[in-house]
Symmetry: C2
Subunit: 245 residues, 2 copies
DNA sequence: ATACTATATTGGTATAGACAACTAGACAAT
DNA sequence: ATTGTCTAGTTGTCTATACCAATATAGTAT
């Protein structure tokens, strides 16, 4: 019994158990794919009925944090948002090449003062310092997108020592900084490329591009990332699912 | 007891009840906002325990078909997809004008033979006839998008008599044809406008546009709509939410 | 080795009942 | 008029129990 739940206190038992499980998973007690305690184990450990433990597990399942297999157990699921966000960029490499996405040349990686736009997006004051990360994304060796990330959280300056050419940003955030992306708001629009973009993306003057602005939120509903991306229109299609997801 | 559930049959009771409720709602037995039977009513009507009825209601709630208010009851929710799809176009009219969206001039409305592309999208054979509906969407009197819908379902030809200038397509489909949009796949890309689009949208030659392809599915997982839209890039931003759905 | 069998464990379904929290309306007291 | 109180009806939480269905494992028979 690692941490007793508070009977007869404002929050329902199943809810307290949900929070506890969430914490334990965030703390790395179980990794993605690991089996968490079974319903019967939880009910004995916390002195609650199996149906109550079950409710907690079931709700965490519909929230996408866990998945269940009859006869086997309940397991920690792959984070949903990362799937969706990477599925976006991975749509760039549908032209034959498999795997080695997440590549890209780092153009800038530095500590800067945020613009007012970025301050609003990240909900911070202008006196904070943020990390700017600019990358050129490649597919089959060809440039396909220009991406400018603005990042802010505790100890964000440590990011300056990370290697973004070999590791994905989100993996680093999750593993080193305990930041779990859980939600994102994104806007997409079309426009023509600037001269700088034209050169970096290796396209003709006046070519159309897809412009992408994204604010990503952590498990604590804090915005930690504001990213502007520019995609070559001739190599990139933005895919959206509405309804089920 | 309108329709008895089949005890000891392959499908669980709560699942049968879910399906029954879905049918009753689709049949218009309850309208959006109406209160459906209470848990105790359902448990008495169908001779099941309250918890079983509760499971059906709760799952339909997480699926977005119902919503519940403690102390009041369980109610029919606004269809989710329509919210999302209309939120897209309604983003066009964020520039002051409220309300009178869904307007637009009908340019074509006729029965045609589908192209192979449309056949694949709608999962039909080329011998079927589909309805083509081309509309110019306006905001503040200005053209903002060109939209070409391809529609196929039973009695699709009746659509030729509908008035699309005053009523929304999805409202007509739901009320007259019992077709509930439940899911859509959508692709967005950027490109330059064609000469025809340039004239209709009243933009300059070589202007960038957002191109949008959408396949929408009914409650029976049948694709009933394939739509290609072209949006003026200077007046339209595509908004996406990732994660919370 | 392969196939079967028994058993234990897991989640899935279902029941019956209890009490809490909340809503809305009726009605009385102020 | 406002406030308080009661009541009936609703969903929310929780317990205790039982059995079913799918899976994993160890042991056994072939």
């Amino acid at each position: 019994m690692s941490k007793t739940l508070n009977k007869n206190y404002p929050l329902p038992m199943y809810y307290q158990l949900k929070e506890l499980l969430r914490e334990q998973i965030a703390a790395g007690e179980w990794q993605v794919g690991d089996m968490v305690s079974s319903e019967r184990e939880l009910s004995e450990q916390h002195n609650i009925s199996r149906m109550t433990a079950r409710q907690a597990l079931k709700e965490l399942t519909t929230e996408g944090l866990l998945y269940r297999v009859q006869g086997k157990g309940t397991f920690v699921a792959e984070p949903k948002i990362e799937q969706k966000l990477t599925r976006l960029t991975s749509f760039s490499e549908d032209m034959g090449t498999r795997g080695f996405d997440s590549g890209g040349r780092v153009l800038r990686l530095e500590l800067i003062s945020p613009s007012t736009l970025v301050c609003r997006a990240l909900q911070i004051t202008p006196d904070r310092q943020i990390v700017l990360l600019e990358r050129l994304r490649l597919a089959e060796g060809e440039p396909i997108a220009l991406e400018i990330c603005h990042l802010y959280f505790n100890n964000v300056d440590k990011l300056l020592n990370e290697n973004f050419e070999d590791h994905s940003l989100y993996n680093i955030l999750r593993q080193q900084y305990k930041i779990l992306p859980t939600r994102a708001e994104q806007q997409v629009e079309a426009s023509l490329c600037s001269q700088r973009e034209q050169h970096l993306l290796n396209i003709k003057e006046g070519s159309p591009v897809l412009r992408n602005r994204r604010v990503a939120f952590s498990q604590w509903e804090r915005p930690f990332e504001y990213t502007e991306s520019v995609y070559r229109a001739d190599r990139y299609v933005f895919q959206v699912e509405l309804g089920t997801a």
